[in-house]
């Protein structure tokens, strides 16, 4: 067990190369850091100094692109963890090669979501007030609590499931690894090594069991930030949280598939085709559930003919937001559904295309859920418009660059696939 020294793996395989910082990787990380740290920081500072008036948000469109991204990313994070914990709870070995990516993705998405919510605050300098004067009745505080707990669960899940790889990395006498990471591996494997394998396995299972309802809860609470508000009738429906969960599940699985396919291609990650097409099939058969929820919502609105609901529905389906709505329904759901259920098109490339469309489609769905209902007002105010400004697009792009950087950095500390092999 611990006494036998591991054999160095064959060169050029992922097991041997995953930790290497090649000039290409370093250049990519540098570029991402420029955008995701320098541009993000300076643009944010500019926005803070000049006020949120530099965005396209206004008295009617009180929330915009930042909150759309926040909701979207919480969903992606929840979807990823549902897959990962499914692997541990039900022992779905077919998808085990994808679990690690799912765990790292979910942590990355959570961090990005937190940055987006900070971007949306008028006084980010008063963020500490959330800890000093929390008001427990506010769904925003519920979200704050749930996100914190969830981040801890996701972190624990990642460390526990990667414990063998960390121990392996600390035992491997690799020359050329930097001191920082060597120290991390020694400390982490020392701490994780105190757990007996049986105990660690048990803890992993319990954490995975907690992560599953946690993922449902975190996205439900995010839905309730909108759904408990009666000022905007199209949010104020009981189906909002279930609708959020199903969108979270399909977008999370889709993002996982896109990232897995990219990593397989560019990092020689050993993921078998069946894992990808198998999960693609599950994704395909989850899409009808999303259709069903949307249909239940639309039918209730159309049959009821309540003015506020109907007005919002018009804005959504034939008004200013019609392109977004039809994109999310046709390109984002229907087309990927067809690609994924037909066995002939369910190849790795097909799954890649379909998953990309699903991710984009769910993003459009988030725009549709947030903005048209938000911009409905009961009293006769002049109609509002929302057009994101360059500041918002720049910040959005830079937070995504920041996310890519975080993912890449974690993947150089914790491998994206099990490299230690099955030693039991």
């Amino acid at each position: 067990m611990a006494t036998e020294t591991p054999q160095p793996p064959a060169p050029n395989r992922y097991e041997a190369t995953w930790w290497r910082l090649t000039p290409k990787t370093l250049a990519l990380m540098g570029l991402l850091a420029l955008l995701g740290v320098v541009v993000l920081g300076s643009t944010w500072l500019q926005q803070f100094r000049q006020g949120l008036g530099v965005t396209g948000m206004n008295q009617t469109a009180l929330w915009g692109l930042y909150v759309v991204n926040f909701i979207f990313l919480i969903g992606l994070s929840a979807g990823g963890v549902i897959v990962a914990s499914g692997v541990y709870v039900w022992n779905a070995t077919r998808f085990k090669p994808l679990a690690r990516i799912a765990e790292i993705l979910s942590i990355t998405c959570l961090l990005m979501a937190m940055v987006f919510i900070m971007l949306d605050l008028g006084r980010p300098d008063r963020f500490m007030n959330l800890l000093l004067y929390p008001q427990i009745q506010s769904p925003l505080i519920w979200d704050f609590i749930v996100i914190t707990i969830y981040l801890l669960i996701a972190g624990g899940l990642l460390l526990l499931s990667a414990r063998r790889d960390i121990a392996y990395a600390s035992q491997l006498q690799v020359s050329g690894m930097d001191m920082a990471r060597k120290t991390f591996f020694n400390v982490a494997s020392g701490l994780l090594g105190k757990l007996s394998p049986a105990r660690a396995e048990k803890m992993l299972r319990y954490l995975a069991m907690a992560a599953l309802p946690g993922a449902v809860l975190i996205h439900s609470v995010t839905a309730w930030i909108l759904g408990l508000v009666k000022a905007h009738p199209d949010w104020h429906t009981a189906i909002l949280a279930p609708l959020f969960i199903i969108s979270a599940l399909i977008s999370g699985i889709a993002l996982l598939l896109v990232v897995a396919i990219l990593c397989r291609r560019f990092q020689r990650l050993p993921i078998p085709d069946e894992s990808i097409t198998g999960l693609g099939k599950i994704l395909g058969w989850t899409i009808p559930v999303a259709f069903y929820f949307s249909f239940a919502e639309l039918l209730t609105t159309i049959y009821g003919q309540e003015p506020a609901h109907v007005h919002t529905l018009e804005v959504m389906t034939v008004g200013a937001y019609a392109p977004v709505f039809w994109f999310s329904m046709v390109v984002g759901l229907l087309v990927p559904f067809l690609i994924l259920i037909v066995p002939k098109t369910r190849t790795v490339a097909g799954v890649g295309i379909a998953s990309t469309l699903v991710v984009l489609g769910v993003f459009a769905k988030r725009v549709d859920i947030l903005l048209p209902p938000l911009m409905h007002r009961f009293l006769p105010y002049p109609p509002g418009v929302y057009l994101p400004t360059q500041v918002e697009w720049t910040l959005m792009a830079s937070v995504w660059a920041f996310g890519a950087l975080v993912f890449l950095a974690i993947s150089k500390i914790i491998p994206l696939a099990e490299v230690a092999g099955e030693t039991k």
């Binding site: 006020g51 949120l52 929330w63 008028g122 000093l132 506010s138």
Partner: protein
């Protein structure tokens, strides 16, 4: 303990906007931002202007008998305010006299209260507020239990502000009554909008006093409240022959 309330007679209102101006002066409500004015002339108009009191207009009817309706809209000071429970940091609260107030120094600017308010009475400082003539700022002051300024206290960018039913005038009237050794009587407190209204369409007073003018007007057969179905129980009542 008084229960402050307001009655607005829409049959008297001429939409002269005097209440809007008086409110802006009394409460140091910042004027519009030059950037926004430029944007309004040029490209897309982004509504960044702040109004604690605003007159809304709605066209009704068809040619040849078109009509326009006016609705002066202060904060409704709901008895069950949806804005208060959603605030994550208790920056907004309802005091014991039923006023819904804002703590400028605590607000983190998430705008959740504005999203939750069905009446759209809350305002965000999208820019650093500009007070072109600082010497002309209203000196009226009000301080909360933590010693922080509220009401007319000049604001900073990135926070939410709203109508307070002129809390500084309520406090001033109480001080005066105490100095004279008498209880508050009806008419002691006049909000800025009420004081300036030429056709006296706005009446403010104590709803706990059955003989006050607001209490009597509130039971008028023309009385209604905005969006009553939402169960917010506004303390502002409107009168209209409708």
């Amino acid at each position: 303990m008084p229960k402050w309330g307001m009655v607005i007679d829409l049959d008297k209102c001429t939409a002269c906007q005097a209440c809007v101006v008086a409110c802006k002066q009394e409460n140091n409500v910042p004027s519009g931002h030059l950037d926004d004015a430029a944007k309004a002339r040029g490209e897309v108009h982004r509504d960044h202007d702040i109004f604690w009191m605003r007159v809304l207009t709605q066209a009704k009817g068809e040619y040849p008998k078109p009509e326009i309706e006016f609705l002066p809209r202060p904060c409704q000071h709901c008895e069950k305010p949806p804005c208060v429970s959603v605030c994550p940091v208790e920056a907004t609260y309802r005091n014991e006299e039923g006023l819904v107030l804002q703590r400028y120094d605590r607000c983190i600017g998430c705008r959740y209260c504005m999203v939750a308010c069905p009446y759209g009475v809350r305002n965000f400082n999208w820019h650093e507020p500009e007070y072109p003539m600082p010497q002309a700022l209203s000196p009226a002051a009000s301080v909360d239990s933590d010693g922080n300024g509220r009401g007319p206290q000049p604001r900073v960018r990135g926070i939410v502000e709203k109508c307070t039913f002129c809390i500084q005038r309520i406090e001033e009237a109480k001080r005066k009554a105490q100095a004279e050794g008498r209880p508050l009587k009806d008419g002691d407190v006049q909000t800025a909008c009420m004081q300036t209204c030429p056709p006296t369409a706005i009446v403010f007073g104590d709803l706990d006093d059955p003989n006050s003018r607001v209490s009597k007007l509130r039971t008028d057969r023309r009385a209604f409240r905005l969006l009553e179905d939402l169960g917010t129980n506004p303390r502002v009542t409107y009168l209209s022959e409708g």
